[in-house]
């Protein structure tokens, strides 16, 4: 079994200590950090995400796998920066104003990180302005809004309205999710993407980032 397979397998089992040791071993053996990340950690997290989407594993398995990934990724981070490797996209995520629930939001964050995205976590009770400011300041491709309550999901509409007003919709897409949120609600408020679960949200975010980055590069080359 290759060291990357070993990293992936142990990550899927949530064995953080072993993952850390294996990542260090791979670094010592001279493998590029990008390869360790992509062929070891992200592959493992991808398997977990897919299983979660299919209800083959439960939230605890996802959380412990994500913890293992983060511990491994922490070793790689300085090496990735040194090598000039950038994340495949940047997302700012938060639970909307008036809502303090964060389990779903945290799960989406972990899944997105597991797909190689950089995630700026704004926490809970996030005012609409904060989403817009952060996305602009930090060059995010996506604003991701979470809500658990029927009454707070209306805040997502304000995020969309502020993004419209700021004229950033071409470069920054808005994703929404959470217990009361539906596809039709997403369309109604003019958001760009609704996802029913954390793994699907991560898949969608990767696609959106990819598309936006290509578009931005094309615009830049004109």
């Amino acid at each position: 079994m290759s060291i990357f397979n070993e990293i992936s397998e142990n990550l899927q089992k949530g064995k953080a200590k072993t993952v850390k040791e294996l990542v260090q071993q791979a670094i010592n053996e001279g493998y590029p950090a990008k390869q360790i990340l992509e062929e070891g950690l992200l592959v493992g997290m991808g398997v977990v995400g897919e299983k979660f989407k299919n209800n083959d594993v439960f939230v605890p398995e996802v959380l412990v796998a994500a913890r293992a990934m983060n511990i491994g990724a922490a070793l790689l981070k300085p090496l990735l920066m040194e090598a000039g490797v950038e994340a495949s996209g940047r997302v700012c995520i938060g639970t909307v104003k008036g809502d303090l629930h964060d389990i779903g939001k945290n799960l989406v964050k972990m899944m997105m990180e597991g797909k190689g995205l950089e995630v700026v976590d704004l926490g809970t009770d996030v005012p609409p302005e904060k989403f817009i400011e952060t996305a602009q300041e930090q060059g995010c491709q996506i604003i991701c809004c979470s809500a658990l309550l029927t009454t707070t999901m209306g805040m997502m509409e304000e995020v969309v309205a502020l993004a419209d007003k700021a004229g950033i919709r071409d470069n920054i897409k808005i994703m929404v999710g959470g217990a009361p949120v539906t596809e039709s609600f997403c369309r109604k408020i003019g958001a760009d993407k609704y996802s029913a679960d954390a793994a699907s949200a991560a898949d969608a975010a990767v696609e959106i980032c990819k598309t936006l980055i290509i578009e931005q590069e094309e615009r830049g080359s004109l």
């Binding site: 949530g14 209800n55 439960f58 939230v59 605890p60 398995e61 959380l63 412990v64 913890r67 303090l100 964060d102 389990i103 779903g104 945290n106 809970t124 309550l149 029927t150 009454t151 217990a179 009361p180 539906t182 029913a196 679960d197």
Partner: protein
């Protein structure tokens, strides 16, 4: 004609018999809602002296009667009676993270604390219970919720692999502690309750919050002990859990032994689906998604409720109300419309 409450209707529904009159049911109605309907401020009265508390329950019980319920929904929560609790809803770090925390935790004090905090409320509930009515509910917080309140959900997930023995022991210890509370509750206040209930949200939109095997081996055995105690007291047990819990419903029915189940969200399954799946074995309580109570205009809500009642009638026990509860954020017009439409359907 004046509404005459009769709690036997909801007992029939809980025992999965079609009631002669469709009973209305809510898991919870927020004080702000009660205040708006009764045109009287009551929320602060709970913190007052005996006279204030009595006044609170007088208004609270009268509210349920005037709205056409046969029962008064009432419970007090175990959570606040557990020292250091709050990880479930108050976003504090769980008080139990290690074996040492567990061993030094004052488990034996919880039951006494619970009754020291709440006996005055149950006593006032008894005094103010309108004729023909009884209470539904009892002791709030189920096994899983209590565990989360002491550990925290995410930390509990890590505990599964970091300390599986501690993870397991948490459920058994909470089960023991909650049973102690229920036994005393049934002895001291069982007479005011016709249906006993606890809520224990096990699921979210697409699955259960912990593995189904853990629910079967760690949670349901604790449920069974409490439900057996309720049955021994001669009462049916109504179980409330939000989320997609279909994978464990058979065990909750067959092993835990619930008589009826409440909570439904349209994004998981509309209420008639629950009736279709389980109506031959248990009573089903609920009907309209709380989101629909908040959002639908009158005509659409009438269509929605009429459809639910038509599809859910004739399949055994059925009590109608929101799929979750009526917390303070529900618009009062939506709630009043829901009740008016339901009472209209039953000919009032």
């Amino acid at each position: 004609m004046e509404f005459v409450p009769d709690y036997h209707h909801i007992v029939a529904a809980a025992y999965n018999r079609e009631a002669k009159r469709l009973p209305l049911y809510e898991h919870l109605v927020g004080d702000t809602i009660v205040e708006q309907v009764m045109n009287k401020k009551i929320a602060q009265l709970r913190d007052g002296d005996a006279a204030d508390i009595n006044e609170y329950f007088n208004v609270y019980c009268t509210f349920f009667k005037e709205m056409g319920y046969d029962t008064v929904s009432y419970e007090d929560l175990i959570g606040p009676a557990m020292p250091g609790s709050g990880a479930l809803g108050n976003h504090v770090k769980g008080v139990i993270q290690t074996r040492e925390d567990f061993d030094s935790y004052p488990w034996d004090s919880i039951s006494d604390t619970f009754f020291n905090m709440y006996s005055k409320y149950y006593d006032a509930l008894r005094v103010n219970m309108p004729a023909g009515m009884k209470a539904i509910g009892g002791v709030g917080y189920g096994i899983f919720e209590c565990v989360q309140d002491l550990v925290g959900y995410e930390d509990l997930c890590y505990m599964v692999v970091d300390d599986p023995d501690l993870y397991r022991d948490m459920f058994f210890k909470i089960g023991e502690s909650n049973l102690k509370i229920w036994n005393r509750f049934l002895k001291e206040y069982g007479d005011i309750y016709c249906v006993c209930r606890f809520g224990d949200d096990l699921g979210f939109k697409s699955n259960t919050l912990i593995p189904t095997d853990d629910i079967r081996t760690l949670v349901i055995p604790q449920y069974k002990k409490i439900i057996d105690a309720v049955h021994s007291a001669g009462k049916p047990f109504l179980y409330h859990s939000c989320g997609c819990i279909f994978e464990v419903m058979d065990d909750i029915i067959n092993i835990a032994g619930i008589n009826a189940k409440h909570s439904n969200e349209d994004q998981i399954a509309r209420f008639p689906v629950w009736v279709e799946k389980y109506g031959d074995r248990i009573g089903n309580f609920g009907g309209i998604d709380t989101d629909a109570v908040c959002r639908l205009p009158y005509a659409e809500m009438k269509e929605y409720i009429t459809d639910v009642v038509r599809k859910s009638s004739g399949h055994g026990g059925f009590a109608f109300g929101s799929g979750n509860s009526i917390p303070d954020y529900v618009p009062i017009d939506g709630y009043m419309n829901m009740v008016e439409i339901a009472r209209g359907i039953r000919g009032e």
